[in-house]
Each structure stands twice: as structure tokens, then as C-alpha cells.
Symmetry: C2
Subunit: 582 residues, 2 copies
């Protein structure tokens, strides 16, 4: 279990501060993550990788010549925010464009795509490649739905080497996609990890058993089996990945036998002994394999085997030199690049993900400013509700996912309160308060829920505006419906997927219906919140998706969806603000 921390809520920043101190000659902290200590040379494509933290040496450990130009660093197992990705990409990008690459998880997909859009709008040609190597997470026919695990390392390395060789952005994107299409991983888990401050692992595996098809965010396997001797485990891993050899592949491969955290090097070497023999028996020639900890999951017990079916280009790029804090190969020819000038950032406290200054909001109309005060009270009530429910939300999230939902909601809602209150105190209207609050929520919480709540609040704010002379119950219901549309557009979840959509849609419908029937907003909201609560409870049971991964397998979970639950709690908390309980 994770035992060493100061404040669990600042674990990632504290970790980054230590990392940046040790490797201060090589990497530099910027808002949202880390970049190389040297400027991106003119004409070189920048490769920025990332995702949540808890995977060291992935991903901040692979920033350096021959590998990544920067890493966006989210909280433990939580997607970084779009703001984080934008910030790191903005610093890392030189004149030749930018490639983002991250694992194919809902939160990462949303946040990196939003960052890509913003960077493109600012004139920086930006592409995104999502890694999908985990063969257990979806059938081969739905390869685009698979999640990225240890194969991340391969795609990032190949893209980084290509950029170092002088490939242009089209070519870097092409070879990254090709590396991803050539990479297959299968993993097994023997025990779950414990989050900093947590008291129990996210899952456990009975002694003598193993989870098959692990995730790297503490997700349990998609199946379970007997834990076999090392040689038999090697056989299953090899046969699993070899069965997915892409059509037309040759006989040269590279391999990663990756330890998740507490499966140690000695054990991995014992397994590798048989893996090497079996690959030879398959007629495969193994080039530059890696056996060790490359993409971990805190102190999770387990390992995975990645095979990359090589052509000459992939082999050259995989074998190319790299010099990073955690991974070195060969000799990178020294250039004499300019030290990066991070300007006033270097005056900020050493290490950690530094923050940017917000801009001042526009003033609102009297009615909108009054509404803004109610919005701030509502945000305060939501933050209090989330603080009270944090542990329980984490618990029910861990049943199906990675257990970070409670922490993310607390971070997001409290950041929204602070930002929204400042804006309201400065005279902003409802729209500006909600835009400020939504951006703060997304930036501080990161992850899937962060970006969705951020988008929802912003959409509701745009629905309310800053300039209205009067704000009616119907205006509020319409604004909330705009929030629902933003959720559906960004999150791609459909009704029935057992996500927060299943609680939000009935809430919207009830709110609109009650208001249109002539009810006052406070009464209408309370009734709608009760509908929302029942709908959230109904998300328990058979569900088509597990945690942050794309749909994996039908699985019965006895607890309701964490996102739906927190939405209902927020709706009820706001009802108490609109119509205080007597």
C-alpha cells in the first residue's frame, strides 16, 4: 500500500516537486506538467505525452532527448485537465507542430481533444494519437475502443524518436498510429494498489488466483483464473498476444515484460526466461526487449506482456537513442540547445504544477449579479455535499473504476467555489461566475468528471447570460438543459449506459416539466432533485462499462454509478439553497 505522503490531496504536486529536484538538469516544471530543460529546437515536432500519475516511470520519467518533449501530469489515475494539456503543449511546441499521445480513456480523450482544439485555434498544428494496445479490454473488431496500457511506452518512444530524427508532423502522427496498430498487450493482476491516504486496496484477488486483463489504474481484471507457475503464465501471455499478430507482420518483434509495481524484477526475469523460449518457438526474433517497471500502477501486483510487430522503420525508432530520467538507450548525440527560459514561472515555488493567473470577468446586470450570488451559494452547498460524501463516493467508484471520483469531485467543487466567489465579489454576472467556476473545476479536478462538470457549468452559465434584466424559472430550466446537451456532446455516453446522464436527463425533464406547469423554481428544483436521486440509485446493477475504460464486458455491480450519485447529491444540496428546509 502507499504509505508515504504528507497531504494526500497534494500527493501529485509533492511527488513532482521531488522528481523535479532530482532531475533538475534534465526537466523543468511548467503549469500542468513537465518539459525538457532545453527549448524544442526549430523545425522539430514536439511530442507531449501524458495521463494521470501513479505510473512512474510513465510519464514524466520519459521526458528527454529521443523521447518526449513534455509530459502532462494529472492527479493519481486521473486525466489531466484540458487546461493542463494545453499549458504543457503550449510551452513544448516549437515551430513544427505538436503531437499529443495518451491512453484511450474517456477523460484523457476529452481533455486532450479540447486542448488540441484550443492549440489549433491559436495556430499550433496539433494532432492526438490515443493508444489502444490492451487486447483484453475489447474484441479485435472494436480495436478503437481498447484502452492503452504498457503499449503507451512503445508509441511514445517511437513518436519521440521520429520527431528527434526530423520527421514532420504528418509523419510523426503516421508512425505513432502505425506503432499503436502494431502493438498488443495482455496483463494479469495479483492484487490492487492503495491510493495515498486510502486504507484498503482498490481491489483484492484471492490467494492463488489472478485477474486477467488488468488496467493500469487499479482496475481489476476482466476475468479471473488460477495463478499458474511462471512458465505457464508466460505461455498464456505469449499465446494471447501472438494470436493477435497483425496481418502481414514479419518475424521481428520487440517486447516489454512490464511490472505493475510490486511484482519484482527477479520474478519478471523468471517469467521472461520462458517468454523468450516461446517467442523463439513461434519463429519470432526479439529485438531490444525491456523487462522491468515501465508503466506501473502504484503498488499494484501484476505484470503484462507487450509485443510490437516491427518493420524496419519501427525497429529503427524503437532502438534509437534516448536519454530521460528513467529510460536511457545508446548515446544521444549532444546538440548545444538553448536552456528553456520559463520566465516568471521559475520565480514560483520549486517543482509542482504551477498555476496560471485568471483574467478578470466582465461586470453583470443587477439581476444577473443577484443570480450570481445564488449560484455561489449553490456551489458552496455542492462543495459541502461533496466533502461529506468523498469517502463514500470513492468507495462506490472503486467497485467499478479506480476510486478517484470522490477526490475529484471535492477538488473540482471547492475550486469552483473559490473561483466563482471571487468573480461574484468582483461584480460578475451569472454567466461569468459559472464560466469561471467551470474552468476552475475542470482545471483542478482533471479526469472525466472534471471536464464534464466544467463543460456543464459553462453551458449553464452561457444559458443564463450576464445581461438579463430578469431570470425566470424557465430560463434556469433551459440553461440546465443546455448543460445536459454539453454533457451528451462531450461525454458521448448514451442514456442507459449507467453514467451521470441517466440521472441528469430525468432531472432536466422533471425540472422543465414542473416549471412549465407553473411551479416556482425552488419547489420544481426540489421535485426534480428527488427524481434525480431515484434515477441515480437505479444505475446499480448490470452495467456495460467498467470505470474509465471503454465498454469492456457486462458486469454486475451492486452499487450505483458514482457520477450519477454525486450529481444527485449536488442537485439535492442546491434544492436546500433555493428553498431552505424548515
Amino acid at each position: 500500500m502507499t504509505r508515504l505522503y504528507d497531504d494526500p490531496s497534494t500527493f501529485t504536486d509533492d511527488m513532482l516537486a521531488g522528481f523535479l529536484d532530482v532531475h533538475r538538469g534534465t526537466v523543468t516544471g511548467v503549469p500542468g506538467g513537465v518539459v525538457r530543460a532545453t527549448e524544442t529546437p526549430p523545425g522539430k515536432v514536439a511530442v507531449v505525452v501524458g495521463g494521470g500519475s501513479g505510473h512512474y516511470p510513465a510519464f514524466c520519467g520519459v521526458v528527454g532527448p529521443g523521447f518526449a518533449d513534455g509530459a502532462v501530469v494529472g492527479n493519481i489515475f486521473t486525466s489531466p485537465s484540458a487546461q493542463d494539456a494545453y499549458s504543457v503543449g503550449r510551452v513544448a511546441a516549437g515551430s513544427a507542430g505538436l503531437l499529443f499521445s495518451t491512453g484511450n480513456y474517456a477523460g484523457d480523450v476529452m481533455n486532450f481533444t479540447l486542448a488540441q482544439q484550443r492549440l489549433c485555434q491559436e495556430g499550433i498544428d496539433t494532432r492526438v494519437v490515443f493508444v489502444t494496445d490492451d487486447i483484453a479490454s475489447a474484441p479485435e473488431s472494436q480495436i478503437g475502443e481498447r484502452r492503452g496500457i504498457a503499449g503507451d511506452f512503445v508509441v511514445f518512444k517511437v513518436a519521440g524518436a521520429a520527431a528527434e530524427e526530423g520527421y514532420d508532423l504528418d509523419a510523426v502522427e503516421r508512425v505513432a498510429r502505425h506503432a499503436n496498430a502494431s502493438t498488443r498487450t495482455l496483463g494479469v493482476a495479483f492484487d490492487g494498489c492503495t491510493l495515498p491516504g486510502g486504507t484498503a486496496p482498490l481491489f483484492t484477488v484471492p490467494r492463488g488466483r489472478m485477474g486477467v486483463g488488468l488496467g493500469i489504474h487499479g482496475e481489476p481484471g476482466v476475468g479471473e483464473d488460477t495463478l499458474p507457475p511462471a512458465a505457464e503464465l508466460a505461455r498464456r501471455l505469449v499465446s494471447g498476444v501472438v494470436a493477435e499478430k497483425p496481418a502481414g507482420s514479419g518475424n521481428r518483434v520487440t517486447a516489454i515484460l512490464n511490472g505493475l509495481g510490486t511484482t519484482k524484477y527477479e520474478e519478471l526475469f523468471v517469467v521472461w526466461r520462458t517468454v523468450a523460449r516461446l517467442l523463439a518457438e513461434e519463429g519470432l526474433q526479439v529485438v531490444a526487449p525491456e523487462v522491468g517497471e515501465l508503466v506501473t500502477s502504484l503498488d499494484m501486483a501484476g505484470c503484462s506482456l507487450t509485443l510490437v510487430f516491427l518493420d524496419d522503420e519501427l525497429e529503427r525508432l524503437w532502438c534509437a537513442p534516448a536519454e530521460t530520467p528513467a529510460f536511457r538507450r545508446g548515446r544521444v548525440e549532444p546538440r548545444a540547445p538553448a536552456r528553456r527560459d520559463v520566465g516568471s514561472r521559475s520565480e514560483q515555488p520549486a517543482g509542482g504544477r504551477l498555476s496560471e493567473e485568471p483574467s478578470a470577468p466582465a461586470p453583470g446586470s443587477p439581476a444577473s449579479r443577484a443570480c450570481a450570488q445564488t449560484v455561489v451559494s449553490a456551489l458552496e452547498a455542492m462543495a459541502a455535499a461533496m466533502a461529506g460524501a468523498e469517502v463514500e463516493l470513492g468507495r462506490i467508484d472503486a467497485a467499478a473504476g479506480d476510486g478517484d471520483h470522490g477526490r475529484g469531485m471535492v477538488k473540482g467543487s471547492s475550486a469552483a467555489v473559490d473561483a466563482g466567489r471571487d468573480a461574484a465579489d468582483a461584480g460578475a454576472g451569472a454567466q461569468s461566475v459559472l464560466l469561471t467556476a467551470g474552468e476552475a473545476w475542470a482545471a483542478k479536478a482533471g479526469g472525466t468528471s472534471g471536464v464534464l462538470w466544467g463543460a456543464m457549468l459553462c453551458a449553464i452559465g452561457r444559458g443564463l447570460g450576464d445581461d438579463r434584466e430578469k431570470i425566470t424559472g424557465s430560463d434556469v430550466a433551459d440553461a440546465v438543459a443546455a448543460g445536459l446537451r454539453a454533457l451528451l456532446d462531450l461525454g458521448k455516453a448514451k442514456p442507459g449506459d449507467k453514467t451521470m446522464v441517466d440521472a441528469f436527463a430525468p432531472f432536466c425533464e422533471a425540472l422543465t416539466g414542473r416549471v412549465r406547469s407553473g411551479a416556482e423554481l425552488p419547489a420544481a428544483w426540489r421535485e426534480a432533485a428527488r427524481v434525480c436521486e431515484s434515477a441515480a440509485e437505479a444505475t446499480a446493477g448490470l452495467r456495460p462499462q467498467i470505470g474509465r475504460a471503454r465498454p469492456l464486458a457486462e458486469r454486475s455491480v451492486g452499487t450505483p454509478d458514482a457520477g450519477a450519485t454525486s450529481l444527485a447529491l449536488c442537485a439535492l444540496a442546491v434544492a436546500d439553497v433555493l428553498q431552505p428546509a424548515r
Copy 2:
């Protein structure tokens, strides 16, 4: 816990086979361990490091240019045998002599010293430096009694860099001793590791507590305390090692914050953040620190802080380039060295510690050959007793040490049976059978008990000779007394130290007394064996030493000493051979 293995008894060989496959361009397997894949250049001192395995990347992971020339690889947490150390040293040594370096543990001290003596006899100038960095294992006034933990890494690195720079043997030895004298480590443990095939960890620490002063062989701490927040832990580690700053040291240091196996990188970076601040507050300037897993203890939870008080020479050597499987720094200037020709060894199965051919023993007199048959039966009975007691011996060893005693006794006694039987079948006398059996025991078991049992059997054999016309009970008692003297000479334990000496000395005295009183050998042996059994039981309780470490602290252990217990079991088993129970 360790979950991935095939046969626990071949775990180290299986691990080495995998390691050698992955790193086949860099390292080569030889009997007893690994060496660089290239010849030691003419005029270069060879640095051979080692100890038991289970510490990866220590020690086979640091063989390469700028670091070690070879690593002797014992079984998990078990000293390699003198034969292993001799073998690796013989292959690695070039024309400029050899430095052995290993941690200061009884078994390693005996085995590497025996190997040194043999190599010196063969004309290879060989020195040994034992590392003593663990400040918790003995007071500063008894610094030579301390054990080596993560400081091993520093001493090995500095010696390897000095040899690479062209230092002569005197100078390499001098700087290795200086590095050791400048290095201090303090560690803490949060939970014990589980040996391959074991069902429980070697020790556990209650939740919220920590052992202070850990060993790297699964030894628990020498004290216990509350597990504090990371910043407070950093403060205790820093204040502990800084308090031992050697007189006359300057303000430049390097540091290793080492993870033992399941304390992960993220946690170490969180601790490092405060360590770095505190060292700066102490006025110390930190050069090229390392934060990560350098000297592990399988899946043990814990960490240690090592400080090295640098002068210009140590700083240059610590910062010098190195290229090894697990540790790389800077750029080693490429030479074009000869690939090592390991001759017929390369024809042997890939990887693992390859074995050498034994030579044929001399034929014995009829009486000695008859005695030899009894010796073989006695060895068989001992091996059977050890096989039956393996788990229990491991359990009681784990109470004070590293839990490997049962496995070592099984390996040693069964190897002794095989070798002794072959020699007896070939017509050897008692001396030759016991010499063969003793050498096999020491070579296969390794560790402390292996070298001691090997020396005891050899001494008993020399006492019995190959040429006697008659072998009396008195001859046997005298030979056994010679065995005791060998034990005392080699092991340095004194009566009352609660080791096997405390069981063997009363046994010898009783056997000699009964035989001199006119008893027949079978009856005398049985009575002496009962005395031995009682004496072994009396080793329970307060004891001055813990496991394989030198005397550490008074500690009450409820179980008898494992070595004394196995000696008594062997004595009783032999009694049944001499006088079968009716």
C-alpha cells in the same frame, strides 16, 4: 509477496537465465555468477561484487563499463559459496589483480575471504572490502561490525569507476575503503517480503508502525516506531545520517533514497522533496543524487537514505560514466574490447550459474571404505531430516534472521549426499567422501551455514583419513572435535552467542566423555545427540545477534537458534543410523 516462480529451489538460476537473455549483449553467465561480455582489459583491476540475490538491480544489474566487472550471485538472501566467488573472480581477473566487495555479513565474509585466499594462492592478488554503512546495526564505536545495505551501491560504483580510470589495486582498495568510511545509511521497513514459495512474509509491521533500522534480507528493524507523515520521516532519516557526519568532511554529499521493493517511486519523490530541503538547511550541497530502487529486498516495503560525504576524488568517481543493465550515467567512452571467450561454458545451457566438473577422489583403505559407507548413510539420514524440517527451520530462522536456513540446509545436505555417494561408490575412503561432500555442501548451499557445514565436514574427514586400518569411537570423537575447531576458527562465534556452537560444543564434550568412559560409539553418539538437542533448545531467549547481521542489540526471541536446531536434528538422525531404533 513473490508469486511468480516455477521451482522455488531453482528460482535464482531461473532468474539469472532470464536476466542473461535480456542483457545478452552486455553480460555473460559463468559458474557462480555473471561477468561483462567483454574481457577485462590488460592492466585494469577487476572489481567483483556480490552477495545473495533478491536485491535487483544489485548486484548482477551493475556489471558493465564504469561499474563492476563481475557479480557473484548467491541464492535469495544467501551468501554465494566460496567456490562461486572464486569462480567469478578467476574469470574476471585480468593482469592487474582483483577487488572483491560485498556487504559485511558473516556468510559473505567467510566465503569471499576463502575465495580471496585461494585466488592469492594461485597468484592473483586479491583484496576484499566489506561494506558497513548501516548505522542502525551497531554503534559508531563498533563501525566494523555494521552490515552493508544500500551503501553497497556507492562503494561498488566508486571502486568500479576507479578501476576504469586505471587505478592500481592498492589504490582501488584504498578508495573503496574510503568510500565505505564516508557512507552512512538509515532505513525503515513497513512490511516484510515473502520468499519464492513461501506463504507468509518474513515479518509484518502493524499498520501505522514502522521498523527502524531495516536489513536488506527481510530482517525486521532493530526498533519500532509510529509511521509518520513523509516529511517527518524525511527529517528522521536526515537527522540520523547527518549526526554521523565523519570528522573533517566538507559540505558536498551525494545521496541515495532507496526503495526496498514495494515502496514506489512516487512515494520516494514525495519523501525526497523534504530530504532535499533539509539537506540544504544543513548546509549540504547534494551532487547527483539517486532516488529509486537500487538495492531491493524482493517485495519488502521500506526505504533508506544513504549519504556519502564527498571529497573531490569520491565526487569524481561517483559522477563518472557507467553503462550497466540497470544503471547508466553519462557516456562511457567506447573501447573496442575483445568479446569474452567463455570456451566450453557457452555450450552449456543458456544462462544460470553453470557448474564445474569435480575431480576423481583417491581410493581408500578397506576400513576407511567401510566407514565411508556409514558416512554416506549418515549423510542420507541428515538430508532426510533436513527435508522433513525445512519449513519449521525456515520459520524459526525468520524469527531472528532471513528465513533461508531450512532451504540452505536442504540444498547443502542433499548435495553432500549425492557427491559423497558418488565418491564412496568410486571406492573413496572416509576422508575423501567427507571432503567431497563438504565441498558440495558449501558450494550448493552457499550462505553462512553452507560454508560452516562444508568446513566442518572437511575437518571431520581429515580427522578420519583415507588410510586407517581401523577406525575407533575415539577416532570419531577426535574427528568431530576437529570439526568443532574448524567451526570456531571460521565462524568466529563464541560459546554463549546462541549459535550452532552452543549445541556443537556440548555435543563434542559429551561424545568424547562417553567414548573415553568406554561406551560404544553408537550409544555414546546417541547420548551426545540428546545433550546436543537440549543445548539447542536452550538457545531460545535473549540473544546478542540478529540473523546474518553482526551483533546488533539485545533481543528476546522465543525460538531457539535455527543453526543449533538443525545441528541437533542431524546429530539425532545420525544416531539412528549408528544404532537403529528398535
